[in-house]
Amino acid sequence: LADVADQRRAPEAPALGAALRDSLERALEGLLSERLADECAPNEASSFAGPRFVARIVLRGEGEAHFRVSCTEVAVQRIATTLLCAASPDELAAEEVLDALGEFANVVAGGVKTTVFDGRGAWQLGTPTCAVEESTASEAETAALACRFGGGLLAVGLDMRAPLARAA
């Protein structure tokens, strides 16, 4: 357990945090024409009630990294209606909303992979797994970022399961 805790406080955490922010900004602007604003402190994020719509992607290479995008319902509805050009969330089926969240997560994770992981051995980006989760417990992650979005919460996080190799 001590080893895992040490890895999660790995020295690459500031670089990962910056990469998460850059990649989230690019995805918000490029896919949704929105800007990253209104960041939340980690303890503030847990005050948003309700289930979380979560997309998870695993990066595998010289170890494993678990990437996550988590949204409250209004935030995921904003992502899905914008991506799918729907006038209202009522026009969308539940699987369309989750697919839109998965693609949003895929773009953010792809950006993080390009910025941080490429050049540090061979890493492969997995495909998104999406679900609605009742738990709103915060997760122990190497780097995380949360912001108010669409009247709700949008959070991203990355959990390194092993330290990153030095860049080539």
């Binding site: 490029g30 991506l83 799918l84 369309e96 693609e103 994770a109 950006g111 390009t114 490429d118 997995g126």
Partner: protein, 124 residues
């Protein structure tokens, strides 16, 4: 005008690509869709009129690189225009795609301009 095949495991992204193609005023006669490389290959074999492929890389069943390699092994598809549209923007992946026979590479998120620029030379 060419018939186009879009291969991406996300239905959302397929819709986004189609919307951006319209915004970019790319002239296509028809657009077909597939959810992974295996389905894409089946579509290509079944429809010889497909004249352009836009494909994601990270997909279940068969990824975009394996799909591209399978396409290029077919004698009648060696010059078929094939463009990757992917979140993977690293030099290594771009090099892998181009060495496998891709004609262009677009990184997500993309704009009408980046699509037009990638397809402009291919469509003439």
């Amino acid at each position: 005008m060419k018939k186009m095949l879009i291969v991406d495991d996300s239905a959302t992204m397929r819709k986004i690509i189609m919307r951006v193609l319209r915004q970019a005023e790319i002239p296509v006669s028809d657009i077909l869709e597939a959810g992974n490389g295996k389905e894409g290959l089946q579509r290509l074999v079944a429809d010889p009129e497909i004249g352009l492929v836009l494909s994601d890389i990270n997909m279940p069943e068969m990824n975009g690189i394996d799909f591209l390699k399978a396409v290029r092994t077919r004698r009648d598809k060696q010059s078929l225009p094939f463009v990757m549209i992917t979140t993977e923007g690293g030099d290594t992946m771009i090099q892998t795609a181009m060495e496998s026979g891709a004609n262009g590479y677009v990184t997500k998120p993309f704009t009408a301009d980046s699509i037009r620029s990638a397809l402009g030379g291919i469509l003439g």
